[in-house]
């Protein structure tokens, strides 16, 4: 299960009819990003900074497509003002966030944002779901996705650092 979650999560994203995948390269999401890049029904859009993804996915929704953003916790802070676009206009926005700055973190520079990623999302009106066990991930993403696309809300699923595994330095 531990190593299979990217494949399973990818299948759920296909089921959710996700068409645009915005991302900033990330070790935790690396396998999932590769799968999305190889999927014909999806357009993978690498970003220079995460806030671009908020606007990109709003535009996608205007054109009738669903999207998802794959990012690391440090990127949440880059999004804060842009999240007002999703909140004010009630654009559906699904963010899958791999956590840094928590379990077994080696780099202290990751801690401030990693410890506050959920609070930053909530501060801007988004919902936060945290996953510590890979067995819960797919159902959590599926539930969040159904909620946001049907309810026009923004939500982040925080994927814990312990679940992803220790970064080897």
């Amino acid at each position: 299960m531990q190593t299979e979650w990217p494949e399973q999560l990818f299948a759920r994203l296909v089921d959710l009819n996700i068409r645009q995948v915005a991302y900033v390269p990330d070790a935790g999401h690396a396998r999932l990003i590769d799968l999305c890049r190889g999927e014909e029904s999806m357009t993978a859009v690498p970003l220079t900074t995460e806030e671009e993804g908020i606007a990109l996915l709003a535009g996608a929704w205007l054109g009738g497509e669903r999207g998802v953003m794959l990012m690391q916790s440090s990127g949440v802070g880059n999004c804060v003002n842009m999240l007002s676009l999703a909140t004010t206009c009630r654009f559906p926005l699904l963010m899958l966030v791999t956590q840094r700055g928590e379990w077994a973190e080696f780099n202290p520079w990751q801690i401030p944002m990693g410890q506050n990623s959920g609070a930053a999302i909530e501060m801007m009106g988004g919902l936060v779901y945290r996953v510590d066990d890979a067995a819960d991930l797919c159902d959590t993403v599926d539930g969040a996705g159904n909620l946001i696309f049907n309810g026009s809300r923004s939500a982040a699923v925080l994927i814990s650092q312990r679940m992803i595994g220790r970064k080897v330095w």
């Binding site: 068409r19 996915l57 054109g63 007002s84 004010t88």
Partner: protein
């Protein structure tokens, strides 16, 4: 003045660009670009950003990717474009043929007191767009240039980047609705996705 040619005025320039727009969708960056587009005539396929500074071009990208047969025009100011300048690189990776980014460049931050922007010091957004791989980049300084740009918007052979150099003017505000949910819903209905 640039040489002997008087600078374009922003309001008539935008109106000229939008004449006969057909199915073109327009995303407007916050501030004067929104008032210019509203002054040219409200339209269900206009989306006015009242905030989210730096997001206009990326919003255009997401829309252009979702509806590849529809011309998508982002009209924004130099200050708004500068805040999202990395987005030009992101567009350069995707290179959608139906996307045009048109920057109305008065070299000023109009909403905050007409302070100089970076373009007033010679920063060239056109060269940035060229370096990012835009298929066409177009300096716009005359009405003939505007007509050429209008043809390119509909030509679906972009991405196009155009810098429209305009005089610094303080035009009366023409305010469209600022209800974001309403803007979104009416746009989606007009685009045939809701």
């Amino acid at each position: 003045m640039v040489g002997n040619v008087p600078l374009l005025k922003r309001r008539p320039s935008v109106a000229r660009l939008l004449a006969g727009r057909g199915p073109t969708a327009v995303i407007c960056g916050l501030g004067s670009a929104c008032w210019d587009v509203a002054a040219a005539g409200d339209h269900d396929l206009n989306f006015y950003l009242w905030g989210a500074m730096g997001g206009a071009s990326l919003m255009g990208l997401g829309l252009a990717l979702a509806q590849p047969d529809r011309p998508v025009l982002v009209l924004t100011g130099d200050g708004e474009m500068l805040m999202g300048i990395g987005g030009l690189a992101t567009i350069g990776v995707q290179r959608p043929r139906n996307l045009t980014i048109a920057v109305i460049d008065n070299q000023r931050y109009g909403e905050t007191g007409m302070q100089h922007s970076h373009t007033a010091s010679g920063v060239s957004l056109t060269k940035v767009a060229e370096g990012c791989g835009f298929r066409r980049t177009l300096p716009v300084a005359t009405e003939a240039d505007l007509d050429m740009l209008r043809a390119q918007i509909h030509g679906l052979d972009g991405p196009v980047f155009a810098r429209i150099r305009v005089e610094a003017s303080d035009d009366p505000r023409v305010l469209p609705t600022h209800d974001g949910v309403d803007l979104k819903n009416r746009f989606r209905r007009a685009a045939g996705v809701e």
